[in-house]
Symmetry: C2
Subunit: 441 residues, 2 copies
């Protein structure tokens, strides 16, 4: 008999089916044994009635056993359907059960909230819980929405190298790689490549790992994370990038509402609405608001500190009913050399950060596209244009006004689901103390 | 006026539009100037008639200038449409032209075939040619088909770390990373992570960069490449993986035929048909065929050499009219510890390589899913199970029979388009002598 996926069982009510999956929960009631079975597509309850051929296997099995089950799909008595469970209205009457793979006794109760270290030390098991699975299903939806949205908007996907040569731009803390006896680094972003590729395809995106060798041990930092990047030509200014970012968020939240509502329910979190106009403040105006509303003086600082990001988000939520805030016009000298200065606001840039529920999740802006200006900036930043000769070719040969954004997938996931640490939003997080051994083939 | 994309011009015949893009070609005929304009979505011819306000800009501009053009969409006289050009049946009568960005004189004729080093040294410019753009549009289609096909089949996308701890498995040549004073490596594949994730989602895929520190300077090797990986539970054996791989290829080729036919026409290459059954030979049978048909003795070798891969592909093309060949049953000791032995063919494994037009493009198979057997194998391979404790957790707690594949995106692209070197199929290829400087932000 062909295997039926659990999500397709509704089409087989009254019929015999074969399902396969894991024992998610077993409840042994003596004469009868109840199961929740789990496969790639969902969960369903199973019941082994007295006298069933499956009783021996049912008695032997326990959590995480892998089984193949022959059974009949029955409508479920009572008001189980009203409990709102997916498949709450059906169950499998188990007629046969073959154990494909056994599991050791679990080292802790699946329902217990574990401390973060225990959780992370046991990921091959702890990722199997419904909550963890929900996190990474939401994450998959977010990255797929990103690509799909941009493909519809004539963006071309590019594969960007992460092994890059030479020293990194001053300031960035990078991981060093021994590249056949020469020094190379792990890329902190696909920035310069995606700019080059605007010259080729006009609109490009990439999704992939980037690296920061920051010695932070906070709930906000990962040393390896997934960056969602796009870059586009023929923009008016940075507000076109903000608009495209906003439109992506609308699309992504709508897909979550359609497909991942039950994952959010587990976390008691709401999928946010994205306003038509995300509240937008210049950095200095945000600093003034923070001072006026919260009596915290951060005027003149080149960036917002974490607590100030939280405050301005609190303000935007209260005054504009928005979980998202754009902060624009960071000072020129605190942004990279390629950042476009605002001619109408000298010393400040057409750059922005996107904050979401108190946390910076993305950075973007318009870039300098004029070759001469770019060379001047490189010098002004104390760097050597010769080192950037490859990159600069793109600007020598015709580059339109352009800009883009890099968005941290794990931070977006974290804040959507109200997690307390970004590490919970990375499958196998890397931090100063944590890097799995022996996990390269 | 809103900008119109070139691909949408057919909806505006007889009307005035604004387009924006690059000067792909300019042909100055004295009184009139002809252009090919290029944007993210296509190309179109433009003509500047005597007396047009655009004449000054038209005279000044040249290849790769970035322009905004105001013009009228006209049906094109004569039989231009029959030339088979996209947009060959329309042209823009240019009424105004604003130069947004200038380009230096190009360092070589765009139509000249460059030698590979010159091509690679000038990628920000050489990638702008129609041929290069075609390669990476085909590549984008292949990776997007991969994800889309698997999502339909209930696979979940996962983000896998590429920074991994400890020493790599014996034999593999890996890049070393200084990880806060400890040694880490760049992953050669997502293999062990995707296996862990079968325990979580049953069916998973990932797409991303992987790294091989091989000191090869051949037309077949890259030191950083894009690996398309899937892994799935509840398989009968390796043939389920081969079938899913075949079905992906059917889907991918069908998408190429639908959307990328003109890219293939540029290379005079045909998009291959994928047979219902891809010809499949055990390694020893392939070796016998090679001896019998081509008088080359490679019997007993643990793998096929490049020339033998070419010969068996030649044979499969001639006898079975297939561009694809599966080779199965590689000897156990030449495959990694997790490879499943064939109980009916002791000493040989339920593993396979996929060859395409003379080149190995993918490797896959069934894996050992039994915890005890896996521990035994690790010891037999001279490795220490304690080093694999994290990975082994997945098998301690219930793992179904499972397997998967890793497919090299660049090699598939290369052979589809008949390129002579895999480096042409990587946007910014990495090899022993080539790593861009200063391309991390």
């Amino acid at each position: 008999m062909e295997r039926t996926y659990i999500k397709d069982l509704h089409g087989h009510i009254g019929k015999e089916v074969k399902i396969a999956g894991w024992v998610d929960v077993r409840r042994d009631q003596g004469k009868m044994v109840f199961f929740d079975f789990r496969d790639a597509t969902g969960k369903v309850q199973g019941v082994v009635l007295p006298g069933s051929d499956a009783m021996d296997s049912a008695k032997e099995s326990r959590g995480e056993y892998v089984v193949e089950v022959l059974g009949k799909v029955n409508e479920r008595p009572g008001n189980a359907a009203k409990e709102g469970l997916a498949n709450g209205d059906i169950e499998i009457e188990v007629l046969g059960m073959e154990i494909l793979s056994r599991a050791e006794e679990l080292p802790f109760d699946r329902e217990t909230e574990l401390n973060l270290d225990t959780y992370l030390d046991n990921l091959p098991l702890t990722l199997r819980t419904e909550k963890a699975r929900s996190i990474f299903r939401v994450q998959a939806s977010l990255i797929q929405s990103f690509r799909w949205f941009l493909i519809q908007k004539n963006f071309t996907e590019i594969q960007v190298p992460k092994l890059v040569g030479g020293d990194a731009e001053g300031g960035a803390e990078v991981f060093e790689v021994d590249y056949f006896g020469k020094r190379a680094n792990l890329a902190t972003s696909p920035q310069l490549y995606k700019q080059i590729m605007v010259g080729v395809f006009e609109r490009v995106f990439s999704t992939g790992n980037v690296y920061r060798a920051e010695k932070h041990a906070t709930s906000r930092h990962l040393n390896e994370y997934t960056s969602l990047d796009f870059e586009m030509g023929f923009i008016k200014d940075h507000t076109d990038i903000m608009k495209t970012t906003r439109d992506y968020l609308v699309n992504a939240m709508s897909n979550l509402k359609e497909n991942r509502a039950e994952n959010f329910a587990l976390f008691n979190m709401e999928i946010p609405d994205v306003p038509d106009e995300i509240p937008t403040f210049k950095l200095i105006d945000a600093q003034e608001i923070i001072k006026k509303e919260f009596d915290e003086d951060c005027a003149g600082a080149p960036d917002l500190e974490p607590q100030h990001e939280r405050l301005i988000c609190e303000y935007a939520k209260e005054k504009h009913n928005s979980d998202f805030v754009f902060i624009t016009h960071y000072p020129r000298k605190k942004r990279p050399f390629y950042t476009m200065e605002d001619e109408d606001d000298k010393g400040f840039t057409k750059s922005f950060d996107l904050l979401f529920r108190g946390l910076e999740i993305a950075t973007g802006g318009q870039r300098v596209h004029d070759y001469k200006k770019l060379v001047e900036n490189i010098k002004e930043w104390g760097l050597n244009p010769e080192d950037f000769a490859f990159y600069l070719q793109a600007f020598k040969y015709g580059m339109p006004p352009e800009g883009g954004i890099g968005l941290g997938l794990e931070r977006l996931t974290e804040k959507l689901l109200g997690l307390s640490n970004v590490k919970e939003a990375a499958l196998f997080p890397r931090d100063m103390n944590r890097i799995d051994t022996r996990l390269s083939e």
